[in-house]
């Protein structure tokens, strides 16, 4: 007894029978080893998660690659900037130099301007923190800054970001 080849049957996709065993194999691979009704609490409820995101989060999410680095617009950039300022101020403090950061190689006005423009997405440190950070006149310059975050950043993530563009 012979069966007609599917190539001659107009109502089924071409090579349907030829691909059928592969389809079946794929289906078996995806088959669970258990029946979902064994776990009615988990599979009986909707998969709603209760997670939300800030308004326009995905529209505003942007990573801008440049020739030598990647610029991105949330709190890491702030930490990077703060870390750079911290290093610069520390060098001044260690060398006994009483000049403010404004006289250093970093242009603090520009940095503050940057912060001001991006304050809606940079939320770990506020403007007051930044003013303190940038002011070398205060004895306790860094008391309100989470140094642990900065140190952690410097140790853990220093290789991730090229900060050379700040200088």
């Amino acid at each position: 007894m012979s069966f007609p080849s599917d190539k001659h049957i107009p109502d089924i996709p071409e090579d349907y029978f030829g691909k059928f065993s592969d389809k079946l194999k794929d289906r078996l691979v995806e088959e669970e080893v258990f029946a979902e009704d064994q776990y009615p609490t988990l599979f009986g409820s909707k998969k709603e998660e209760g997670f939300g995101v800030p308004a326009d989060y995905f529209n505003d999410f942007m990573i801008t690659p440049t020739k030598n680095n990647v610029v991105f617009n949330t709190k890491k950039i702030l930490l990077g900037l703060a870390a750079s300022v911290l290093i610069a101020v520390s060098i001044f403090a260690l060398s006994g130099n009483n000049k403010t950061v404004k006289n250093s190689e970093i242009n603090s006005d520009e940095i503050l301007q940057y912060f001001a423009e991006d304050s809606d997405v940079l939320y770990d440190l506020n403007d007051d923190d930044l003013e303190i950070l940038l002011s070398a006149e205060s004895e306790n310059t860094f008391t309100s800054i989470d140094e642990e975050i900065l140190i952690d950043y410097l140790i853990e993530d220093a290789d991730q970001i090229d900060l050379a563009w700040l200088y």
Partner: protein, 170 residues
């Protein structure tokens, strides 16, 4: 497009556009807190940007991205766990996230997932929420399909038992 040097930056932007949402949700399900997910998502794209040359074209781009996202999430969770232990907390409290509005069952589910071993957590999130085929999961997690199925079953059992044990349904 992404491998063409002249079009690299354009390609990278297209890649970010195409994958930012699915990768975000995968990461969010792993790390739970929005601010943490945002951090990890950025790290993922930075890694992608820096290591795109390592992408093997025979692999699917999305499984490669998922692998990076998954690894970044795991290393973030490990780091956060160490910090939480220092401050005396057992686990992250999703209720503290201003962008979480889940009910008691959803909170219980998050707690149950948080208690899973790392591998089971990855597998559960990928299968239950992301509905990723085992074939692709095997590529992402570099694991056999049999072991992934076993991990998923263990995770499902544990989560079901946890939710029943804390009696949030009644």
């Amino acid at each position: 497009m992404i491998r063409n040097k002249d079009q690299f930056e354009l390609g990278f932007q297209a890649l970010v556009e195409a994958y930012k949402e699915p990768l975000y949700w995968h990461i969010r399900r792993m790390v739970l807190i929005h601010a943490d997910a945002d951090d990890v998502l950025q790290n993922v794209f930075i890694k992608v940007y820096k290591h795109i040359e390592n992408f093997r074209e025979e692999a699917k781009l999305y499984t490669w991205l998922y692998r990076i996202a998954s690894n970044e999430s795991i290393s973030f969770i490990k780091k956060r766990k160490r910090t939480l232990e220092i401050t005396g907390n057992a686990m992250v409290d999703v209720k503290e996230d201003p962008y979480f509005t889940g009910d008691q069952i959803q909170i219980a589910l998050k707690e149950a997932i948080e208690k899973l071993p790392t591998k089971q957590k990855q597998v559960f999130v990928m299968r239950y929420y992301d509905e990723m085929p085992y074939k692709d999961m095997a590529e992402v997690l570099e694991s056999s399909i049999g072991s992934l199925k076993a991990s998923y079953h263990h995770a499902v059992k544990k989560i079901e038992n946890y939710i029943i044990s804390i009696d949030v349904i009644s």
